[in-house]
Chain length 190, copies 4
């Protein structure tokens, strides 16, 4: 068994829906154990994130998929506090050669979501990880890459209820990303 | 009179439509002279762009608005050849304190268009310019920021004819950007 | 009198030194009032930044210069919590047409500091601001652009004491940026 | 045998030196065939790159390492013309699941080189590839990550002769990247 962990922050519940879609995709692959790990503001004191148990689960993972809403053009503050805590793994090189991927949700079609995925990518690169693309062709408004993103999966959700947005197409993007990373983990660790 | 130049490359005619919208916006401001300058592949030899007359018009401009389709996640190669030729203005500091802005067109809603705008922004920063935002709120599918972009104006066009895409909303984004830069030029050079 | 506010977070004191250099530059321009505003972790509860007095000072400013260390390739978590709180000003459009600029400090020569400046830039664009470049030529190891950055000012500091790093050259970059933004504020609001 | 191809453009010969270092690193790994493929301006007509033989070699490769000088904050125009031609492989999905990595050279320590690596990364993501980090710790001025870059390898070279710059440390970064990608290819295709 190989382990894929999805670690994410959600402010209003929309990113949770995308995270659950990614989980469903990863779970669809035989031989994969999946962790769904939420970043909680309760673990942030004065801007510093501390949760040793969550980091222990990530240490034991073969792939880490990072998810956040895009707030003001970048990851949520809570997610950034978590990434800063990940500096300990940069220093220890504990996450070298783990696979990484990312997803994000915001209210607009474009909405600077690419920058959030780049923040995740740069973090993963600093940790010596290997980044897996969202390998789906765009062009189908009901398809797995409705918003035309390749660096990771994108979902769109504004003021709608999380049961409505991200929509089925965006969640199918999340499922596809989860399944792809899970398959890649098995290939990479054969 | 102050001068705003729109310099752009268009492969299939869609970016030309956005450029014309930006021109219309800039022309709507009293006291502004507008140049529409197309980058032509005919001026590129072995990857090097040469067109002294075009550069002379940019030298005489108070603002430069850069436009390109997003091809494979960045400006078109032809546009990059032009930007490389702009290295002479980096070295001479001839464009310091001119205003700058940008727009781009690609087939998908997101489609890595942000990276194209960042390429334009970084170029403008290297030249010592001042970058003007696309100051429109998103959320209206028929509005001036349909695709939710702030670093510049975005339009969407795939295989449709240029008369159809970018659509009226995206062109209204271009008009708004042109008018905003023109007004900013007057304020900056008061 | 026009007002330039420098709002920054510093973890170990190095970014404070850069902020003070930016302040010195802005103060060197006649007709400019300068605020130095530190983001404190004490104002962050569960990842949410609240400080109405600080925001009131920014509301009353003509330019906002943003500064942060680069942690794991992006702004510090504390700074991101502040930027998220700035979402209220995105919504109110209260900061439209203010000038903006940025600076960052990290341990390496390159070290993904550009991504931090891009985070600041994208935030400023979302707020409808106008971004001022760091207009200094590189090439001089003792000069005002030692690290060759144009989108904002960069400083380098690792484990050294803040009195030692960022060094005199990097602080001269901060001074130059502060003076440039101050002069731009006067020109923009003439 | 697995194949790693290094495809690069060099204007003044400095990036060629980095490319040769990457080749040396890849060749040091048993079981790896290495191609060194230069982008030539001779293959660019009116901004369009055509070289079917070069693309055939890339089609037959298990990993593609992209290299370019950073000109005006992004890949050289010639490299972008090549990337645009790669749009055919985006459409055909012919490069899905190949490994990818990148390197760049410019005159300054920072110099917006990150943006060039991001251009390569986004291109690779669009093609469905998997991106390998430059897994070296910074901090040693004579070490394999002198300039503190993780998304790819960076070298510094200005007006010096290519025999002098990039220096030995920067070339050791290239060697490390080449060896890392070669080892990753063997692991990924076990």
């Amino acid at each position: 068994m190989k382990t894929v962990s999805i670690v994410y922050f959600s402010g209003g519940g929309h990113t949770t829906k995308m995270a659950e879609a990614v989980v469903a995709g990863a779970r669809s692959v035989v031989g994969i154990n999946v962790n769904l790990l939420a970043i909680s503001g309760d673990d942030i004191t004065k801007g510093r994130y501390v949760n040793d148990a969550l980091f222990a689960q990530l240490d034991a993972s073969d792939a880490i998929i990072l998810g956040s809403p895009t707030y003001m053009g970048d990851v949520a503050g809570q997610m950034k506090c978590f990434l800063d805590a990940g500096g300990s793994r940069w220093y220890s090189r504990g996450w070298v050669d783990k696979l990484a991927a990312g997803f994000t949700v915001s209210g607009g079609p474009s909405g600077d979501k690419l920058h959030t995925l780049q923040t995740f990518f740069i973090f993963a690169m600093q940790c010596g990880m290997v980044w897996v693309s969202h390998n789906e062709m765009p062009g189908d408004p009901n398809g797995k890459n409705r918003l035309s993103s390749y660096s990771g999966a994108m979902g769109q959700a504004g003021q709608e209820a999380p049961d409505v947005a991200p929509n089925a197409a965006d969640k199918s993007a999340g499922v596809a990303l989860g399944a792809r990373v899970a398959a890649a983990v098995l290939r990479w660790n054969r």
